[in-house]
């Protein structure tokens, strides 16, 4: 597997702060990601988008880019690979062998490079918006500028009012990232700055000019576990009653046609 050689430090570089290696399960993460890829693909089909060009901003391991390229799209993947460690090399090479165009950037030059990539049929940013500090407005405005008129934009992100967060809040526990990680992180901190609700995400897409954003809730984090237990069953049944308890939001919209 292309990401097997990634060291813990490369996955969670110094900007995340110290993360307990025992708390991270790469195989489990990839299982969860398969569900996210499937949901995105289904959403694109719902929008009538079955081929064309896709720009993925924040492609990291390439799990979305690789799958979408293999499904018939022409994918361009951009991330701060020049700032990451050499452990990402196999993942980059795997994407390139599949035909994905890789654009490596750094934090300092990414805005300018992104702006020069032109426009795509679809732009996606998966699990990125929660990492944007201050306001996501400039980031989202840049994404929408990269979309052709009438094209699609899709974001997924952790759902702020997910079941487990409601449980934590009811117990008086924090729902933010581990304070030990954030407290000792080098600046700029790159963990989750703010998570969102589905309506908030849809509202933001409307603000940047996207029509009729569709919100999809789904739960994928349970797939990280080898076995599920009573609390997990209770969580799933709570989602049956109220889908806004699911752990992930996918929102898709279209830019106005000319």
């Amino acid at each position: 597997m292309a990401v097997q050689n990634l060291s813990h430090e490369e996955i969670f570089n110094s900007h995340y702060g110290p993360v307990d290696p025992g708390s991270y399960n790469l195989a489990g993460y990839l299982r969860c990601t398969r569900v996210r890829v499937l949901r995105l693909f289904e959403a694109l089909r719902e929008m009538g988008i079955r081929n064309g060009t896709i720009l993925e901003v924040g492609s990291l391991y390439g799990t979305f880019s690789l799958a979408l390229q293999r499904l018939g799209f022409q994918v361009t993947a951009i991330d701060r690979y020049d700032s990451y460690g050499p452990g990402f090399r196999p993942a980059i090479e795997l994407m390139q062998r599949a035909g994905v165009r890789i654009v490596s950037t750094t934090r300092e030059e990414e805005t300018q490079i992104l702006a020069g990539l032109g426009q795509f049929d679809v732009v996606i940013a998966m699990a990125v918006v929660e990492h944007i500090p201050h306001s996501p407005r400039q980031f989202l405005e840049q994404l929408v500028r990269q979309v052709k008129p009438g094209g699609g934009i899709a974001l997924d992100t952790p759902n702020l009012p997910r079941y487990w967060n409601r449980i934590k809040m009811a117990r008086g526990e924090p729902i933010f990232m581990d304070i030990k990680s954030q407290f000792y992180a080098e600046l700029p901190y790159e963990g989750h700055h703010r998570e969102y609700t589905g309506p908030e995400l849809a509202w933001m897409l409307e603000q940047i000019g996207c029509a009729g954003p569709e919100i999809e809730y789904f739960d994928c984090n349970l797939f990280q576990f080898e076995h599920i237990h009573r609390p997990h069953i209770e969580c799933l049944l709570r989602i049956v009653e109220d889908p806004t308890c699911a752990d992930t939001i996918l929102v898709c919209g279209r830019t106005p046609r000319p």
């Binding site: 289904e42 209770e234 049944l237 009653e241």
Partner: protein, 118 residues
């Protein structure tokens, strides 16, 4: 030296008034208890049908859509599943389902249904 009750009363001229108010509250509470207790109104429920159990445990949001449609047909528009109508389910039965029967790639696994919309 600890203060006695009379010390407190002596230093707090409002105390008799407070005691009077408290006794008034207790008296009111006693009257309230004598009233008949209103029957608790439970919201209507819908049972998780056995045929939806695999879907509920793999695509709960899809199970929600199907049950929301059933609730709408039974109770009419404006009645929301999850809000006005609650779900009941046989938790013990669900806990007894072998893990591999639903979540693994076992040949006997229940295929996940991933329809997005009705």
């Amino acid at each position: 030296m600890p203060l006695s009750v009379s010390d407190h009363v002596g230093r707090a001229p409002y105390m008799p008034n407070l005691l009077s108010r408290l006794s008034s509250v207790f008296s009111h509470a006693a009257q309230t208890v004598e009233r008949p207790i209103a029957e608790t109104v439970h919201p209507p429920t819908i049972a998780l049908p056995p045929e939806l159990i695999p879907l509920a445990l793999t695509s709960p949001q899809e199970a929600h859509r199907l049950l929301a449609r059933t609730v709408s047909e039974q109770y009419g528009p404006g009645i929301e599943f999850g809000q006005d109508v609650k779900l009941t389910f046989p938790l013990d039965v669900l806990l007894d389902i072998p893990h591999q029967a639903i979540w693994s790639a076992d040949p006997a696994a229940v295929p996940s249904t991933n329809r997005r919309k009705n």
